[in-house]
């Protein structure tokens, strides 16, 4: 065992170390900024000087500091109830990030498990799973999700579950295709030849080798889930108030476009920047790992 290990480390290629090249800089910056936004949002209780739900009817519709009449008391101004927009935007990110990260991760685990199973077992299992994938792809599932949420009632849990049902499909499709490729390769045949169990082969040999492109998809699904949640909140089908959400803030501020345009624009900019950040990270990872997989 010990000699085996020594031999394998000796022949391992050295260039797989993580080297930062010039073209990685953009992606790294995006990753750091996105991570900062996520951490800032979840630790808001610790550092935010104002309560995001504190109303101040006398100080309502205050403009941000860079406009005439703005002050640094409310850096990004206040909304129609005098609540601090900066605080609400920071806290509003929590719902977006919880939905984006949970949906992409759970959908990823389910999708990869089913995709690998389909590619590994073939036969009836494959037909069944891939049929499901086909049917869901052809469907405007967001429309059905809207119907489901409206009937069952809007809550964080309903939104997450509905989006998971929607988003496992791209993972399953890619995992299936990649598993079929791996099964043609020598190291897979070697593992079969030395008599490893199916589950062991799947977990130790198949999954780790198909993971990079799936991680790329994961980032795009995070972005798409954030967008979907914001759209549902905007339509009034998201997490109910008083919890601040970007989509909800935007929808509530629409009536003030001619008097206080910053109320809907600030959360809109927030969601756009976060989605750009996540998409840039995804693009960067996909170029780094697989030049041909531009999703």
């Amino acid at each position: 065992m010990a000699t085996e290990l020594a031999a394998s480390t000796a022949t391992a290629p050295k260039e797989r170390r993580f080297v930062i090249r010039r073209r990685d800089i953009g992606g790294l910056i995006a990753a750091i900024l996105t991570a900062t936004a996520i951490i800032a949002s979840f630790t808001a209780d610790l550092w935010l000087p104002v309560d995001p739900n504190l109303q101040d009817l006398l100080g309502r519709l205050a403009p941000p500091f860079f406009l005439e009449g703005g002050s640094t008391v409310h850096v990004l101004g206040t909304d129609e109830l005098g609540r601090d927009l900066f605080a609400r935007t920071v806290v509003g990110g929590q719902v977006s990030f919880i939905v984006g990260l949970t949906v992409a991760t759970v959908a990823g685990v389910i999708g990869i498990a089913l995709g690998v199973l389909a590619g590994y077992r073939r036969g009836f299992m494959e037909t069944l799973i891939m049929r499901f994938v086909d049917v869901q792809t052809a469907f405007p599932f967001l429309v059905i999700a809207i119907a489901i949420v409206s009937i069952v009632g809007a809550s964080l849990r309903t939104i997450i579950v509905t989006l998971i049902i929607y988003q496992w499909v791209p993972f399953a499709r890619l995992a299936h295709a990649k598993t079929l490729t791996v099964k043609q390769l020598d190291y897979y045949r070697a593992a079969v030849a030395i008599g490893r169990k199916d589950l062991g082969i799947a977990l130790r040999h198949v999954v780790p080798n198909i993971l990079p492109p799936l991680l790329v998809i994961w980032t795009f699904i995070v972005a798409r889930s954030i967008l979907a949640e914001a759209a549902m909140s905007f339509l009034g089908l998201g997490v109910p108030p008083p919890t601040p959400t970007w989509g909800g803030m935007l929808s509530g501020g629409r009536g003030y476009l001619d008097s206080a345009w910053w109320i809907p624009i600030i959360p809109g900019v927030a969601v756009t920047l976060v989605v750009i950040g996540v998409n840039v990270v995804g693009d960067w990872l996909s170029k780094r790992w697989d030049p041909r997989a531009s999703y």
Binding site: T137, F139, I146, S150, V152, L250, V280, S294
Partner: protein
């Protein structure tokens, strides 16, 4: 051809049956719809008479069978709110929605194809960078944010276009741009990626060596080969486009199918919800049929394969 029609026809039936059954049971699971129709101030007698009128006093399987029979005759019942025939109400919204969708798709294609191809033929230039940034922006800006920014700039600050409704022809401009942004971004990326690959193909070199100009090579030769993935993208992203249309219609108060559905959902107007979900489902199947047929027009190889 006949095989495709048959397969899609079967799919159409499955979609109609599956979707309507799903919506039927979801509605019954979510509590007593009569309480919603009658409102909070209704008396016992009113609730009882409404329950009987809509048949909610029957066992669920009786209701389901009756629902299926009504489905065969395309009878979804009447809107709880306005008393209009639900299907008729939903169908009357289709022209406004298709207008919006066709305008948006046209904008997307007109921007994405020339820009994508020229970005691919000029890699590393400002043009290519611009295409990449535009694709990233279009894919990342949510439609409701873009819509509100457009309203703020072009309807409130500079009053060029109306901010809602569809009275005048130019009221289509802002919603169409809003809806087109996401699909335009996806098409742009795809055209750029595929066209860059096609640039290396032998036929491009042959055409060039025969003395054909850049325009002809790009639009006669490269474009034809990019069209197949472009059309299949349409099928794949159809769900996203329809979702985007629902949001866009809500932003601009566009009197289309999406807005009707959202309004019905918020008012728990179940017959209208059922009818709209079903009509959208049928549309999706039909558009997929068109995509299938388009494949065959675009790529002769697929025609041969099927006749063998």
């Amino acid at each position: 051809m006949r095989k495709i029609l048959f397969a899609r026809g079967r799919q159409l039936l499955l979609v109609i049956l599956g979707l309507s059954t799903l919506v039927f049971f979801l509605i019954r699971l979510s509590g007593d719809p009569v309480l919603v129709i009658a409102g909070p101030d209704a008396t016992e007698e009113q609730i009882a008479s409404l329950t009987e009128k809509f048949g909610f006093d029957q066992p669920v399987y009786v209701q389901y069978v009756r629902f299926l029979l009504n489905l065969v005759t395309l009878d979804f019942g009447r809107s709880f709110l306005t008393g209009e025939e639900a299907l008729g109400l939903v169908l009357s919204r289709i022209p406004a929605s298709s207008q919006l969708a066709i305008a948006a798709l046209s904008i997307a294609v007109v921007v994405a194809i020339p820009l994508g191809i020229s970005a691919a033929t000029h890699p590393g230039t400002i043009r290519a960078r611009f295409a990449q940034w535009l694709a990233l922006a279009g894919q990342s800006i949510p439609s409701f944010v873009l819509g509100i920014v457009l309203i703020l700039v072009f309807a409130v600050q500079i009053p060029l276009f109306p901010s809602f409704g569809n009275e005048a022809a130019w009221s289509l401009v802002l919603p169409a741009i809003t809806l087109s942004s996401f699909i335009m971004a996806r098409q742009l990326r795809l055209v750029q990626a595929y066209a860059s690959e096609e640039m290396l193909a032998g036929y491009v070199r042959t055409a060039r060596s025969l003395g054909y100009g850049g325009f002809r090579v790009r639009y006669r030769h490269i474009l034809r080969n990019v069209l197949v993935p472009l059309v299949s993208l349409l099928g794949i992203e159809l769900g996203t486009i329809i979702g985007g249309a629902v949001v866009t219609e809500a932003v601009f108060a566009w009197p289309g199918l999406g807005r009707t559905m959202v309004a019905a959902v918020q008012a728990r107007d179940y017959p209208v919800v059922q009818a709209s979900v079903l009509v959208i489902g049928v549309f999706v199947v039909l558009i997929n049929l068109v995509v299938d047929l388009l494949y065959q027009r675009i790529d002769p190889r697929l025609r041969v394969k099927e006749s063998v």
